[in-house]
Amino acid sequence: MKNGDLKKKSFHPPVSKPNTFSNPFEEFRTFHFRKEEIPLDRIVQSAEVVMDQIRLGYEKLLEEEAKELVWMVQYNTIIKAYEVAEKYIKEIDYSAEDIEDFCFALENTQKIPYLIPGPAGIYISALCNYAKEEEIVLKLSELKTEINLIGFRLPKGKRLMVEGDTGDFTGIGLEGGEMVIEGSSKNWTGAGMRSGKILVKKNIGLHTGEWMMGGEIYVGGRVRGLGNIVEGKVFEREKLVYPGKARNPNIYY
């Protein structure tokens, strides 16, 4: 067979340019981000500025008080952390809604690097205590982590309502405020409280009311254990358990 015949019969695949990649971002070629400002944008923007300030305050608190991301609950560490939180919060003009947003942002955004339950609780408490509003609702039921020290030093005239559960040291050092916890709270609730009222709709942990000097704790479910109570009242399912004969302090049920 001649070469010419071979050439005639040989199959030529369709010519395609080698190494041509289609642009995987083609549809965005003409995209130019140009933000048209509407009144809502301004509101959102100002809310974001406030949120950034609140976030910054929390980061500063962690920097100063939880350098190694470890924070031990001791009397002096709580006082010191609260003072640091106060310092930053006093300069922010925020509302109760911003506190709610901050609680949500603690776990649901990448912008807040660490959620450490102790400092977070101290910081939220300071935010509540310095808020303009008298009544504040905290939606904590969505959080996977239980926040400690919520309601620290809640002053008279303030009412703090918590949706969900709280961690240890809830409402410690309460200064006349009223706390309502829709879920349960853990150990050392109301420790060192001076006056005011704590209502826990479900159960409460050990050492309840340790060194409390006054005020009332109402529990809708079970009290696992009472602490050394100096003065004040503890009710379990509307029944007075302290002061009372039926249960002695430091006995765990």
Binding site: N19, F21, N23, F28, R29, F31
Partner: protein, 448 residues
């Protein structure tokens, strides 16, 4: 229900939806898209039929998995129920290739000739596999190619289905079920659960027996069976089948007032659906989800045989929670069903709401979650089966991330396009796997 009409096909399909929900498959709405509520089984099954898709219907026994598929297929493809029943394949351990695909023509074999008698299942465009997870894992491979491409092969002969859709049902794990192998499960575009309708609707179902009679017609069923059994070439059977199907469609229209879809209607609808494109937000969001379902900073991509390392920067993303990598079929399924939903809603583009609505149903069966995620969330309060619940939660989480950085991401993709076309710019940085993936694509372009 608000539907923007273009040429009446949306209205026709919505009439079918309402007829099914009012007379044939009683259930509660369980999915909301742009303020409109639908029942996910009817919605996704209708879309599966229209889009030539593949759907896996799961649920407890007796909750209408197979019947819903039968009714919907009957109305979309104009096949009487008798033919659909006769072409169903049931999954059981003794199932064979001869019962699913085809068998030798024994008469001809006696004469020394080799010919194949194709099963109804292989021939009709409506394919229903009942209780697919009762097929042993080794036998599931038999239907892989047919399920994927519509190619059915036996004794060196092959038929190719130009138009087909597949519905498979699966019960929850019990003594007689097997795991569906990963390559087979990946071929399903969507998964839905046929739920308990509640005691009141369930009671109504009990009262309205023989409701399937409206979709029966023994004469047409016999005619269709005769064509399917005839020894003419498969390609020649199709127009004959369609002729009888059209006659059955006219009968249904006369008796019920609703108009099933003819082949030309289906083709027309598909042309309209295919013309819909994703808008920029829908595209960027889909890319973001795909990045999280496939990314691994350390090993280049997710692989089921590799575990996440401690101290990885990307611990907050879905890649940390899953074992396997999203397949290339996933974006195809997402686009296909988002197109279908956008078309049905009368929208001219696929937006992020369409994508968010269908996405959990497209990847919940394809993703394998890590044990720690399962143990953490399995007792969470929910209405959906666990896999779909996890997928919905995942879409919600990524959607939150997308809201925070949508403009930045679209900027990064726009910049990526410019760099890809040769402009000397630097890609945008960002704290999400998608930015790392954009960089990888640009690096590939530079090295070209």
């Amino acid at each position: 229900m608000l539907v923007v009409e273009k040429n009446g096909y949306q209205k026709q399909v919505m009439t079918l939806y309402r007829f099914i929900s009012d007379h044939l498959y009683f259930n509660r709405p369980d999915i909301e898209v742009k303020g409109e509520t639908y029942n996910s089984v009817i919605l996704f099954s209708l879309l599966t039929g229209l889009l030539k898709g593949k759907e896996l219907i799961i649920g407890e026994p007796g909750l209408g998995k197979t019947t819903s598929a039968e009714f919907i297929c009957s109305l979309i493809y104009q096949f009487p129920l008798g033919v659909i029943w006769g072409s169903e394949v049931s999954g059981h351990p003794e199932q064979t290739e001869e019962k699913i695909i085809g068998r030798p023509d024994l008469g001809k074999l006696n004469r020394g000739e080799e010919d194949v008698v194709w099963t109804n299942f292989a021939q009709v465009p409506v394919k229903i596999v009942d209780e697919i997870n009762r097929l042993p894992e080794t036998k599931q491979s038999m239907i892989l190619d047919g399920v994927d491409r519509g190619n059915w092969e036996y004794l060196n002969e092959m038929i190719i289905n130009d138009e087909y859709c597949l519905f498979a049902t699966a019960n929850y794990q019990d003594g007689g079920t097997n795991t569906i192998i990963a390559p087979l499960i990946d071929r399903f575009d969507v998964i839905v659960e046929s739920r308990y309708p509640g005691p009141n609707l369930s009671f109504l179902i009990g009262k309205s027996r023989r409701k399937e009679q409206v979709l029966r017609h023994p004469k047409y069923e016999k005619a269709l069976h005769r064509i399917l059994k005839s020894k003419v070439a498969y390609e020649k059977k199709i127009p004959k089948l369609e002729e009888v199907c059209d006659a059955f469609g006219e009968y249904v229209e006369e008796t019920t007032g609703i108009k099933p879809l003819r082949r030309e209607d289906r083709n027309h609808i598909r042309t309209e659906i295919e013309s819909l494109e994703l808008d920029l937000d829908a595209s960027a969001f889909t890319r973001m989800v795909l990045a999280e379902l496939s990314f691994c900073d350390r090993y280049g991509q997710k692989r089921i045989v590799e575990n996440c390392e401690e101290g990885c920067h990307y611990t907050g993303y879905l890649c940390r929670q899953i074992k396997n990598c999203a397949s290339n079929r996933l974006p195809t399924s997402i686009k296909l069903f988002a197109q279908g939903l956008a078309w049905l809603s009368g929208d001219s583009e696929i937006d992020i709401e369409h994508v968010k609505a269908i996405m959990p149903f497209t990847f919940s069966h394809r993703i394998q979650w890590k044990d720690e995620v399962i143990s953490q969330k399995e007792r969470a309060k929910r209405d959906d089966p666990f896999q779909i619940f996890l997928a919905k939660e995942a879409v919600k989480t990524v959607s939150q991330r997308y809201r925070e950085q949508s403009d930045h991401l679209k900027d990064a993709l726009a910049l990526g396009s410019k760099i890809f076309q040769g402009e000397s710019l630097e890609p945008l940085e960002g704290d999400h796997p998608i930015y790392a993936e954009i960089k990888k694509d640009l690096l590939r372009r530079r090295n070209q």
